[in-house]
């Protein structure tokens, strides 16, 4: 590392770094605490004062996760991936239609998509429940995938539209001159160019489906396959003594978020600064 301080950098701002580390530590304390409790022995859970550090770490909690929650993790993975596929398949062509093909009524459509994002999930859940009860889709993974995708589809279309509107028209015209029709242009020019948008959309679609509790707890609560969020919830309801197991499940359920933050932080910030809001 270059040891010569650049003006205003290391020398004069070390206290800012220190303060920043302090703020981050305070902010992330609940996350640390979740981790700490997940490693605490059941007998130490009720210790007063609580153990600030797991001096005698145990894997009891994680063993319980492995023994009981693997199917739930699998279900969440399935729901998340299903939601990604459904979202991208619907949003990408729609974005192309709005951004490049001058879809008639695109202004109205844009408006509807913005409004759609403002509808509370609890209302959607009731509507879906009423529909699914008749169709027999309650407690099915497919039904949950469709419901979860409603969080991500409007976001996906708007994100694709924003990006695809910026693709130079010359590029698409060149493809047309070479004899490609709209579909061919979409598949071999537009989609590859929109790779980063697809990654951002997929990332959020997965994360939102993985994190969903409202739809899971209303449409899939008696299912054979429940997602991990419901697994945690049922845990809380059942054995309130084993908070180390609950917190261990919570830690495991947080893994995708952590992985995405490390691997794809660029896309996370891209999604947020494009104006993404959770839910």
């Amino acid at each position: 590392m270059n040891r010569r301080p650049t003006p205003g950098a290391s020398g004069r701002t070390w206290w800012k770094t220190a303060l920043g580390v302090f703020f981050t530590a305070v902010m992330l304390f609940p996350v640390y605490w979740m981790f700490n409790v997940s490693l605490t022995r059941t007998s130490d859970l009720r210790a007063d004062p609580p153990h600030w550090f797991p001096w005698a770490p145990t894997t009891e909690g994680y063993q319980a996760v492995l023994a009981q929650q693997l199917p739930a993790l699998g279900t969440s993975l399935l729901v998340g991936l299903g939601c990604v596929v459904l979202t991208v398949v619907i949003a990408a062509p729609a974005g192309y239609a709005v951004a490049q093909l001058r879809l008639p009524g695109r202004g109205t459509l844009n408006f509807l998509l913005l409004v759609a994002q403002m509808i509370p999930a609890v209302v959607m859940a009731m509507g879906f429940y009423a529909v699914y009860v008749r169709l027999g889709l309650l407690n099915s993974v497919g039904g949950l995938i469709v419901a979860d995708s409603t969080i991500a589809v409007p976001f996906g279309v708007l994100l694709y539209t924003a990006f695809m509107a910026g693709i130079p028209r010359e590029l698409l015209q060149a493809a047309r001159v070479d004899g490609a029709n709209a579909w061919r242009t979409f598949v071999s020019v537009v989609l590859p160019l929109s790779r980063n948008s697809t990654l951002t959309v997929a990332l959020f679609a997965f994360l939102w489906a993985w994190s969903d509790f409202i739809f899971a707890s209303t449409l899939d609560r008696n299912g054979d396959l429940v997602p991990i969020t419901l697994g945690i919830y049922q845990y809380i309801g059942n054995n309130t003594t084993q908070w180390n197991a609950i917190m261990a499940t919570a830690v495991v359920a947080s893994v995708p978020a952590a992985v995405l933050l490390v691997v794809a932080q660029r896309f996370v910030t891209a999604g947020v600064t494009a104006g993404a809001v959770k839910d």
Partner: protein, 308 residues
């Protein structure tokens, strides 16, 4: 949720109709999707609220039409006033503190320092965690007997607080957790807003002898006003909908003391052994109306900013 994007405007073409059909083809899956999975459930929800649905009527589909009776019932209910007040307190306190803390942090992180990018990225963590994870962690931290928060306060001589089980503190407890959840979003949006304020404005101000405090109030805050308005409104629309956090921490209790409109709706429909869908749907529709009022305000502000 995405901020309003300008719909791409182009001059109308003379041979537009074939193109129009192609466009419709590409948009068709979305249009079908919106009708089936947005419009239809929402319609069913309206339908629920104007009928008297019991579980049996639900399956058989022969519920009695009662018009606006369910709406009259919920407006007359004691819970309505409580839920409305709680929604207002929960929402306003959440967005104000999220905004103030988010803005303070954004200003702090503005002048990059060693590790600042990494630390700022770590601030995203609470935002990315599943809500149920955060909510259950907070529930355990705030637990009366074994909670770390009470243990910490106890070191300063504060007597035990029953955060989640006392009528006086339940709403406060869920609000604190929700503020924590919203800080990352405010930080990220406000931080990117700050980037668009040119640095030489600050240089000029500092040459004129304006200190950091003065600079904040006469430059940062006024110039950030458009971004602030959007951030606060989006936060408001989002906070109105919150169910997970409150439900997991207090289920709206004790009594109705932490019941918001969203929680009330959820509880009527799914939270008790006996689902009561009609009033739940009515409450839900009231909530939609409130959300849309602020939603349109948001779109209005957004449009005005694009025009200017």
């Amino acid at each position: 949720m995405v901020l309003a994007l300008p719909a791409p405007r182009r001059r109308p073409s003379t041979r537009g109709s074939a193109r129009g059909w192609t466009a419709a083809g590409f948009a068709a899956p979305l249009l079908v999707y919106l009708v089936l999975f947005y419009a239809y459930p929402l319609w069913r929800n309206v339908d629920l609220s104007v009928h008297d649905y019991t579980i049996r009527a639900f399956v058989q589909g022969n519920a009695e039409f009662v018009g606006l009776e369910k709406y009259a019932e919920i407006f007359a209910s004691d819970t309505f006033t409580t839920a409305l007040t709680n929604t207002a307190i929960f929402t306003l306190a959440s967005i104000l503190f999220q905004y103030a803390i988010g803005l303070a942090l954004a200003v702090f992180f503005r002048s990059g320092f060693r590790l600042s990018t990494l630390l700022r990225a770590m601030f995203l963590v609470p935002w990315l965690l599943p809500l149920i994870v955060s909510a259950s962690t907070w529930a355990w931290m705030l637990s009366s007997e074994n909670g770390i928060v009470n243990s910490f306060l106890g070191a300063f001589g504060v007597p035990q607080i029953n955060w989640l089980t006392s009528p006086d503190t339940a709403l406060l407890a869920v609000t604190i957790a929700n503020i924590w959840l919203g800080i990352p979003f405010n930080l990220v949006i406000l931080h990117s807003g700050l980037q668009s304020i040119p640095g030489d404005v600050y240089e000029a101000a500092s040459l004129d002898g304006a200190g950091p405090w003065r600079q904040f109030w006469s430059i940062t805050f006024p110039l950030l006003r458009p971004v602030s308005a959007i951030t606060l409104l989006l936060g408001l629309i989002y906070t109105l909908k919150v169910v997970d956090v409150i439900w997991v921490m207090t289920t709206g209790g004790p009594g109705d003391t932490s019941t918001t409109l969203a929680i009330w709706s959820y509880r009527e429909a799914f939270g008790t052994g006996q689902p009561d869908f009609s009033p739940a749907a009515a409450v839900g529709n009231v909530l939609i109306v409130i959300a849309l009022v602020f939603g349109f305000l948001h779109l209005q502000i957004q449009r005005r900013q694009e025009d200017s």
